[in-house]
């Protein structure tokens, strides 16, 4: 690697955007070349200087204005939604009458939705509607919102700490999500009532590992960034608990 080549990619090196091979090349070169090595120092210095530039946070007035727009918009949308919903219901009713009772929609969609819900919550930093490690607090938060009792348990002794809960809409079901933490990962335990009888399946999607089964009238989905083995351990705990405690 010569100096010209090295200079053109030093920036990417400082940004941590080079592949391993090029990183080694750059490091070899800068060790041997005092010019490029001091350029590297300057680049790092400049990066720091630029990063010290003002980060403009949205002023209160803008926040208020944008939120007001959101609300107005949403009122209009609600009307349209209602109209759409009514017509969709008619179509669904006619369709249902014509086709008779059909099989359940494929489970795959619900699995995808469960993972998507987890991902959305992580990205928007909106994991918890109720934050508490106290089972009874989380249970009573769910109490007024659901027509079933979601399992809120403590696995603290096994290293899975209760963090809280939130609500999601999964596969058309109003669902409870109970969140546990384990080794810097969060696990969503999503439940809703179900009359199906489905065996345990484990799957992974978008880098998350997940599991699904039904047990005692509830449909369970677990979604987490944990590796498969750890998740499996937790699945066993939850399943065992469903049979003993409830």
């Amino acid at each position: 690697m010569d100096c010209k080549e090295s200079r053109s990619i030093l920036g990417a090196y400082v940004d941590g955007e080079l592949d391993a091979r090029s990183v080694l090349d750059v490091e070899d070169h800068t060790r041997a070349c005092p010019n490029c090595s001091s350029t590297l120092v300057s680049l790092r210095g400049m990066k720091q200087v630029v990063q010290s530039a003002t980060y403009y946070r949205a002023p209160e007035t803008i926040v208020a204005v944008t939120q007001e727009k959101v609300r107005t918009q949403s009122r209009f949308r609600q009307v349209w939604k209602a109209l759409f919903f009514v017509s969709a219901l008619c179509v669904a009713a006619i369709g249902g009458w014509m086709m008779g009772r059909r099989n359940q929609p494929p489970r795959v969609d619900a699995n995808t939705e469960a993972v998507a819900a987890h991902l959305r919550a992580l990205m928007a930093n909106h994991l918890l509607d109720i934050k508490s490690s106290d089972q009874s607090v989380v249970r009573s938060w769910f109490a007024g919102k659901l027509d079933f009792v979601p399992p809120v348990d403590s696995y603290k002794a096994d290293g899975y700490a209760l963090m809280g809960g939130r609500m999601e809409f999964i596969d058309g079901h109003r669902s409870a999500v109970v969140i546990y933490g384990h080794k810097n990962h969060v696990i969503d335990v999503i439940t809703y009532p179900s009359r199906e009888n489905e065996k345990l399946t484990q799957y992974s999607e978008r880098g998350f590992s997940a599991a699904h089964w039904t047990s005692r009238g509830l449909d369970y989905s677990l979604v987490s960034g944990l590796n498969r083995a750890d998740l499996h351990e937790f699945v066993d705990l939850v399943r065992a608990n469903a049979y003993s405690a409830r």
Partner: protein, 180 residues
């Protein structure tokens, strides 16, 4: 705390969850691309409105999505300006030659001065610097927001930094420069 009822109207909570948390990012980009606070506010408002109307098109990362909309809105708003249309820029002097120590940069730089140097960059260079150094996006994320290949992102960052380096080292007192 959000009530469960609102979940039945699915777009609104979706916007709240996926776009609203990135309001600061959106504003910061608008503010750096615009020439004034007033212009930034108007860019942000237009971008926000457009995001609201098109929330159904959001299919991946809400942050990149709103940043892309802000960026495009800013370009549309500013396309009439001649100063930013000029891609002709400084020649390619190897300004990295005139190196200075890290410490002396810190002595020389104050926030206003840095802001001026960034603001002086033409739009296409300014946006990559802001997305990289203030929003901490990766090259591939910047490529997505700006709509150019990653190689172009790398080249623009390189040239933007050459320019900034030149301006900064002009301000560093002689005695702090490394003799080269």
């Amino acid at each position: 705390m959000r009530s469960w009822r609102s979940e039945s109207n699915r777009d609104q909570p979706r916007f709240d969850r996926e776009v609203l948390p990135h309001l600061d990012s959106a504003y910061n980009l608008a503010r750096w691309l615009a020439h004034s606070e007033h212009e930034a506010n108007s860019i942000l408002r237009d971008a926000w409105q457009s995001a609201l109307e098109n929330i159904d098109q959001l299919n991946a990362n809400g942050r990149l999505w709103i940043l892309t909309i802000v960026r495009n809105t800013a370009h549309a708003a500013m396309s009439s300006r001649s100063d930013d249309l000029s891609a002709i820029f400084f020649d390619d002097p190897d300004v990295f030659e005139s190196t200075t120590t890290e410490a002396s940069f810190m002595i020389a730089a104050d926030q206003d001065m840095v802001a001026n140097f960034i603001t002086e960059l033409p739009l296409q260079f300014r946006e990559v610097i802001v997305l990289r150094e203030l929003e901490h996006l990766s090259y591939s994320e910047i490529a997505e927001v700006v709509g150019v290949p990653m190689g172009t992102v790398m080249a623009r960052l390189h040239r933007a930094r050459q320019r900034l380096m030149q301006r900064l080292s002009d301000r560093v007192p002689e005695e702090h420069k490394l003799g080269l």
